[in-house]
Symmetry: C2
Subunit: 327 residues, 2 copies
């Protein structure tokens, strides 16, 4: 069975929980806006991470379902608000929430999804002491994600960005929610704070690897593998970690050339090739790949401490999939 | 001592908690945006309601401080997002968050305040079982507040609004957070769900009375009492419950006249007087006053069931202040 099918199988209970919560009620426009993005699909990687961590440490993954679903809801709330902030019309090929329902309702839908996430945690069948820690940790995580988004907004106004600061931004904006998945899964599975924190770090590494691999893949994989034109980050002029790294490593001439290609809105295939070449020549491309694989290895070492079981095996497959997919 | 001074005295601990949480850290722009509206002042009516209810039922109001502060933070998060949705530049005479920090940061600031509220509840020193219920109830309340705001948005597109639906909208948008204050205060004070719900209803009534009294006051009080020009709701063409009620009661000619005054952006003092006259002639003004006082009486009857103590006395003064201030 392919990993994608295994993940979809694993995500079924979360899918059900999401459908149960996100029913349409009055005022309909609000609830339709809330359901729009979360029910448009998705691999549910964060929930599956929570479930598998819970199972791997010896817990019952059923008990982790509401918490797991709450992370998906939080992920989606941040997507809805991010799209408003960035004025993006599309989200994975689907019309953004504010495109369909307007800005006020999109803001409200995000807020209400956020509220639902805490209702889900509060209504879950876990010990009250653990529940209270899940609430604290999840709220804290959302605040850190917002910090990451603010850093990203700040970077847009800057000429050059320090690669380390950029990495911290993607750690906050895209990785720590994976960390919360493993952290909560471990707590629900009966582990203490210390072990949960170690597993949180494992998932943060994977989240970072996942994001960095995304940059790498976009520059190197074929359109067939990507399901979209290769080099689309370059064509859109996105400042990914790969680009930040390349700008940090190149000399003035190649640096200027790269910036010109990134800032051009009408790139030819040859321009894209040239940009990849520059990023490869300066070592940024290889560095990007190595960094992703290093994160993956760190994560794998952590889970290898646990006795082999079906959940550990699938978790390992999930990590491999997240960081080496497409190659 | 005047009630205002007593309230300010009572709010001191909450003021301190707010200042402790809302310190400026990196990224500064985000944290400055978060602190901007909550630390610009306010009577802290919701926190005081939570503290006094807790004390009145025999609890220690110190234990209710983090929860009380969390309600103020939630109230402020909704203000920040509402101002974005309504594109209002001013909030109680202070520049709105998005006016100073821009739309993306204002959305993030609201989200982060929301997150902080749950961190405050989770970190408070109350029994975990109660904490869980506070989280569930507060999250649920935020979702209902969003429903109220959506109803308000929907109404703007409608020619006429049913007064009952309008009342439900203000119940959700402005009153149920007062309800949560009393509900949580009662639980922290050691009472069970049933009694907490009765006190919740008490505070919802007061919240409704507070809002309706606001409409009444704006039409009837002098500029001196209001601290702003009298009839400002009319001048702005606001559809308050008073206006909705008047539109429901008036015949075609006076109805049209009232609508014309409301829609006119350049009203003279005489226009405003005429609008008040129409609202008075049809009985809407008197009905508004009576409705507010009825809510106040219902609320007072509930708290009279409790043994007399300093907290009950001050709570009674608070209710009177909220519903009969300025007259």
């Amino acid at each position: 069975m392919s990993i994608k099918i295994k993940l979809a199988e694993k995500a079924k209970d979360v899918e059900k929980a999401l459908n149960d919560y996100l029913v349409i009620r009055e005022p309909k426009k609000l609830y339709e806006a809330m359901a729009h993005i979360p029910l448009a699909g998705g691999k549910r990687l964060r929930p599956v991470m929570a479930q598998l961590t819970c199972e791997m440490v010896g817990g019952e993954s059923k008990k982790a379902i509401p918490f797991a679903a709450s992370l998906e809801v939080i992920h989606n709330f941040t997507l809805v608000h991010d799209d408003v902030m960035d004025d993006d019309d599309l989200r994975h090929g689907v019309a953004a929430c504010h495109t369909v329902f307007g800005l006020p309702t999109a803001i409200l839908a995000g807020d209400s999804l956020f509220a639902y996430a805490f209702e889900m945690i509060a209504e879950s069948n876990v010990d009250d002491k653990i529940k209270s820690e899940l609430v604290r940790h999840t709220a804290y995580t959302v605040r850190r994600i917002a910090e990451g988004q603010q850093m990203d907004i700040n970077f847009e106004e800057e000429e050059t960005v320090d690669p380390e600061l950029y990495l911290e931004m993607i750690r906050l904006k895209t990785s720590i929610l994976f960390g919360s998945a493993a952290y909560g899964g471990a707590l629900i599975g009966g582990k203490g704070i210390e072990e949960a924190n170690e597993l949180r770090q494992m998932a943060i590494w994977v989240g970072l690897g996942f994001q960095i691999w995304d940059d790498y893949l976009d520059a190197t994989a074929t359109a067939e593998v990507l399901g979209k034109p290769s080099g689309s980050d370059i064509r859109q002029g996105k400042r990914t970690l790969l680009v930040i790294e390349a700008l940090d490593r190149t000399n003035n001439k190649e640096r200027k050339e790269l910036i010109n290609i990134l800032d051009d809105t009408n790139n030819t295939d040859n321009d894209v090739k040239r940009a990849v070449e520059i990023m490869s020549n300066c070592g940024a491309l290889e560095n990007c790949r190595e960094q992703a694989l290093e994160y993956l290895n760190g994560a794998k070492k952590t889970i290898e401490k646990y006795p082999e079981n079906g959940a550990r095996e699938l978790l390992e497959e999930l990590l491999e999939y997240m960081v080496t997919r497409g190659h």
